[in-house]
Symmetry: D3
Subunit: 227 residues, 6 copies
């Protein structure tokens, strides 16, 4: 099985290495069971810091995006170096370079590719290019809810939903003003649908149970099925 | 003034060099008046041929997109070599490489950058990265109509419209099934809006009048204003 | 055994994937028997289209050659993507890059390297650099004839000949005006001779029997022995 | 005149763009007077954050250095993007790449090059390769003192000193345990001496007066003369 | 005017820099008169040393050629560094890279490109790609003779000849066994002919008079005209 | 076990391939016992020739160092090509590239990385990045002596010493004027100490006994222990 693992940048903002250990434990369990793993890292606090500073200084959008991309690559290097021999030591700077390096058989860790593109889109492109069976979105909620759980106490976690359902929920729960799709933006969903990639939304804290989830031993998080 | 010129791939399907001559004439007139020009080429019939063949053979979507991208780069090389000393001789393979080469002062001609991305999105990213004043979409219609001119004889060419109006029209006139946005897809519009780039939709045959259009001497095509 | 397979560009002009399937079947049978395979693709109809268009437009010879090379690389990407995990996913752009990628153990597919050089020369350089035991020229005739079979009905297929004999035949059967050596140009023969590479000229349709030919089970095509 | 400007990473830790403005003002005044400028940036707080996190996680020294180098490159991108057209948009990753890009005539901004090497050594190598007349070390003290000013109130700022004197002072004032040479490490001094590069140690806040200092109009900071 | 200058590797075997000075003087005189210059260097004694050692050790032909190419690149770096700001500081490793760098406007110095290719062929490809008006072969004889001047005292220097005449003379005067064409091999002549490049064969010692020769003020060496 | 092997450039000055054979024999014995090997080559006589010529011609220090680096890369290519399939065929040009290539599992052979850096420092960086258990310095003496053996007949070979002892001996035995540390310069020792790398100084002629030395079967040369 091939698994693409998208890790939100916020998990690298911590000062202690617990999160790195969770990632490694999860990756090792997958590799040891014969699966292959690709990892996509977000930019997190470092990205935010440089983008904010750059915006105040009047740097334009495309270049602000590039600062965020370089920050996400810094996180990717952190993960790649921590994984050591398990991973390819160079962070690819485009999907074509990713595909090339993926051919060597190791874990490949990547940050962003180019301006105007969310980490979720990068993760869906990587899933598609690696022919992944599953795209895992490690986030800080337990999965996809039918309503925004921060506003509605009766919100219910959906253990299974289609991309069509997901799109409806995202339209309702995400602030249009914010302009940021926290889970999957339309382009990411489009790629997932065209290549029929399953998506698992799971709490980062549960990443160490990933092998059990994949093998169907336990059911945690939300599974999104492409239509 | 900085101008990004997107040329649909179909204009390279012809067996005679008239279209190349139109492009060069247009570029030369802009350069001679002190403007800078970036060019984005589509894949056209060559892309279609390889994608069709690859799809029949069972090649996956991400790699089919790459075949289309390499075809668009072939068109870009054709234009770059035809422009000779006016243009940078290497076709960039990512936005970062584009930005780097753009710094040398010459015309830079590029094809696609990566899978899951329309030529229109590439053109809007290039417009943004070059800080373009205008993105010119050279197409085979005379501009944007209020209705699909192929279906409604009373369709009226709009000489000026906002991106909001454009989005409404695109939703109505473009076949949802086809899944292809001939002019601008949502991501392209989003980039245009965030960086406030003006877009001129113009018939390819009128490209040689581009300098006159830009300087306001004549009014041809449709001008789309970002909101 | 190491085999370099040169495939004329015309086999990619077809609209259906039969030829790709023949190539894959042939490659798979070789790999499964423990052999290694390098593939060199010609530019075919796509190359011709761009070269013709470029020539009419006044583009110079070196750059026309580059257009043909990029077309041959498009064919190489088609083959590499179709072979999937069996092949290295990036098409090398020089012999040095080829050698580097060859070290990874997979099939490497390459198009042309540089202007002023036939695909046959590329294939002979690749044969030499990979230390190939055999260079297979897949073509649309059944082998080398003592006379031009299109003109002389009594022309006889030679199942075995030396490079000296080949040179004599090429001088006689190939139109000097055309300036194109369909099989092997002098530089290609020189390289074959200096590194003592055997050459098999075989009909593309018989490529799926390549393993049997190599192992000596059947005798098809013409074997050219370097002197 | 050619000037290499080394900017300590701490000047990028601020949340507001004042420091970027000081750098730009200084660079612009130099360029407008016909000088050329190379910039070397340190890693600052971002480097420290990733190195600390990586060290806790057990990543080895060479790779910790690489994390610091990538952080310094992030700072370099920030400066390069802020300088816009004045600077080359790509941050070089080795001295050879730096030299190549320097040939294009623009400001080149670089972070670190490789493990085991201080930013000061990078700056001295860049000074040497660009044939710089002056290496400016922008720091948070006013120059070189005869004693550690943090410990001795009678410490006196030296407006002029030789590299031999500097070495003696560094041995006395810098903590051996710390193992970090804040100004110039022995290798940096060796390079400065072999290529006879003058060094100006100046308070970052005074960078905007750099042109006046260089032209001898005012005397601020400490000038270190190679012997 | 654009001039490609091929300098035999033997001129770098000397222990003193006189030959470098001749090259620089010649290049400077051309640049100062508004001409552009490309330089191709041979491998000389360094190439011979490594090829001999490698051959004794059993290294194969393609890789021996690569050793010779790297030696010629060392000579190219020597010339490029000596020319300083006049030249691009990186030696291109393929014709495509050469073309790209040539676009920046400086002198580009290159060694060999790939195995199986003489320096003369490299020089003719460079002449073609740069659209050179003249290819200058700086050698240790005074030009082309009607007979081998080392054997026949009555041999006459030809001040003007066609490529057809040259081919005849080369066939007669050059040892077939040696297998090395000292001036121009068949592929080099083919390229010269197809792109109509004039060739000047001149004694290296007279390179400093090159501007006078080009402008027709004096007549030295042999001018070979393509047919 | 991982072993980094530093081979002084002088061992490539010989006209016969004996030294190459010693290297291959040594490498093969290590690989066959399951160890991994990295090789760093010096520039030797070729470096000296180009540096001398360049210095007479007035080329600056940074660029003279680059000529020496390119000469050391030529030696690295010689070794890599001679090792054939055992080694990666491309010589890395920076530590980051080295690390990337090292991930593929083969022997990686490298020359110098950048100006201002001894081959010993390169070797210590490579040892650190590969997490080597041992750095072997193959030289033309039998090990480290307590006094300079060329001056004092009573000089005694030290079979074991600490880096502190080594530093004292180097200060005494090496000519300060010369400015060259034949064994290990201060930066190299600093890296060895921070990453706790053991160093074996051994006569090049004994390289073929390396496996026996490593496994403790015989004791030859001097073992330097980091403190």
């Amino acid at each position: 099985m091939i698994v693409t693992l998208k890790i939100s940048g916020k998990f690298f903002d911590d000062e202690n290495p617990t999160n790195l250990e969770i990632i490694k434990k999860s990756v090792l369990s997958l590799l040891n069971s014969g699966h292959r793993v690709a990892i996509v890292t977000g930019g997190g606090g470092t990205a935010r810091k440089y983008i904010n500073l750059g915006r105040k200084a009047g740097i334009k959008e495309a270049h602000l995006d590039l600062l965020g991309i370089w920050a996400s690559r810094l996180n990717a290097y952190l993960v790649a170096f921590y994984l050591g021999d398990l991973a390819y030591s160079k962070v690819p700077e485009s999907l074509e370079e990713f595909i090339e390096k993926w051919g060597y058989g190791k874990v490949v860790v990547t940050g962003g590719f180019q301006p105007g593109q969310s980490t979720a889109t990068v993760a869906s492109l990587v899933s598609e290019a690696t022919n992944s069976d599953l795209l895992v979105l490690a986030t800080n909620v337990d999965g996809v809810y039918d309503k925004d759980p921060r506003k509605f106490s009766e919100a219910r976690l959906l253990s299974r939903l289609s991309t069509i359902e997901l799109k409806k929920i995202l339209e309702l729960t995400q602030s249009v003003n914010a302009g940021t799709y926290e889970l999957l933006d339309p382009l990411a969903i489009k790629i997932i649908e065209r290549s029929k990639i399953k998506v698992l939304v799971v709490n980062f804290k549960n990443l160490d149970k990933l092998l059990d989830i994949i093998t169907g031993n336990i059911s945690i998080g939300s599974l999104v099925l492409p239509v």
